[in-house]
Symmetry: C2
Subunit: 190 residues, 2 copies
């Protein structure tokens, strides 16, 4: 793809990610996106089949960043396993801060769309499963290191962490504050 | 208000609550609501100023039911305080079951609208605060009864419970299953 075309697509994805986080899916007009990015309509439909395809690609980009953060934290050998998990959520908190505490794109789109779209319901559930699977590996390492009880169930705990995090992210969005995120981490990873 | 008019308003609120839970706010068309309830347009605008006013009244109705469930559970002297809290969330789980596990209306509308509407952001935050306040009273009773450590902070714990519940409700919506709700309650109120 020529560099300009690639840059246009990237600009649409970046602006779309910010707009979807604030507005959600149905309230986001493609026209508003085109105006915000000064992109002609044809250019959008050159890169994306439709709004659904666009939002799915935004989710893929978002998940790319999540996996990068997971790589950076969960595979840091200088930290004990439980600290790696905590570091990951602290990094996510920092990215929420940069956006003005609008919470999590996955949680937002999941809530809005799960009741009306099997495509988004399955997509977002698979994202949460992927995150939980990676955290579970780290919790299993913590269990083997004796930092969690031998009876701990890493997969169950990892899903619980992801779920409670999403609730805290919603409350953070409602309050425009990191306090619910900190309270949740302090309780779950104390 | 004459009985028929009252019945019409109630029919709109009941159908609207179910539709808002499944579709969210922006995907719900007033026209679809009118067709589902066989109500003429003028009747809707007789009872509600606009769609926002309608959704706010649906939230009030939803909160009425939440407070009824809180009354029934938290003020049951036959149960120890922590069991009363658990009973409340079990009752909510049962109502989610009746709706096909679509999660929580407050969480859904909160996620969708907090980024674009101060009215809904404040409204839904105040709902969560009201629920947490009532649960905190019960947790304080548990603390005084010695069922929680003397150092426990009921208000903080109650907000944490509400937040984690909302995350579990989102996951329940994504999976169409009560498993995330059960896992969260077992962990938090074990």
């Amino acid at each position: 793809m020529p560099p300009d075309t690639h840059a246009t697509k990237q600009r649409l994805l970046d602006a779309g990610q910010a707009l979807l986080l604030r507005h959600g899916y149905h309230d986001l007009g493609i026209q508003a996106l085109l105006e915000a990015t000064e992109t002609p309509k044809g250019s959008f439909y050159h890169h994306f089949r439709d709004k659904e395809d666009f939002a799915l690609q935004v989710i893929d980009q978002y998940m790319g960043a999540v996996h990068q953060a997971l790589d950076a934290c969960l595979e840091d050998p200088s930290l004990p396993p439980l600290q790696r998990v905590r570091r990951f959520f602290e990094l996510v908190t920092k990215s929420y801060q940069g956006e003005g505490y609008l919470g999590c794109l996955l949680g937002g789109l999941g809530q809005e769309l799960a009741g009306v779209s099997e495509v988004f319901r399955k997509k977002i559930e698979s994202c949460f499963q992927a995150i939980a699977r990676r955290i579970a590996v780290c919790l299993e390492a913590a269990r083997r290191a004796g930092d969690l009880p031998a009876s701990a169930e890493p997969a169950r705990m990892a899903n619980l962490l992801v779920d409670c995090w999403e609730g805290a992210a919603l409350r953070s969005r409602l309050r425009g504050s990191p306090a619910p995120l900190h309270a949740m981490l302090d309780f779950m990873l104390r």
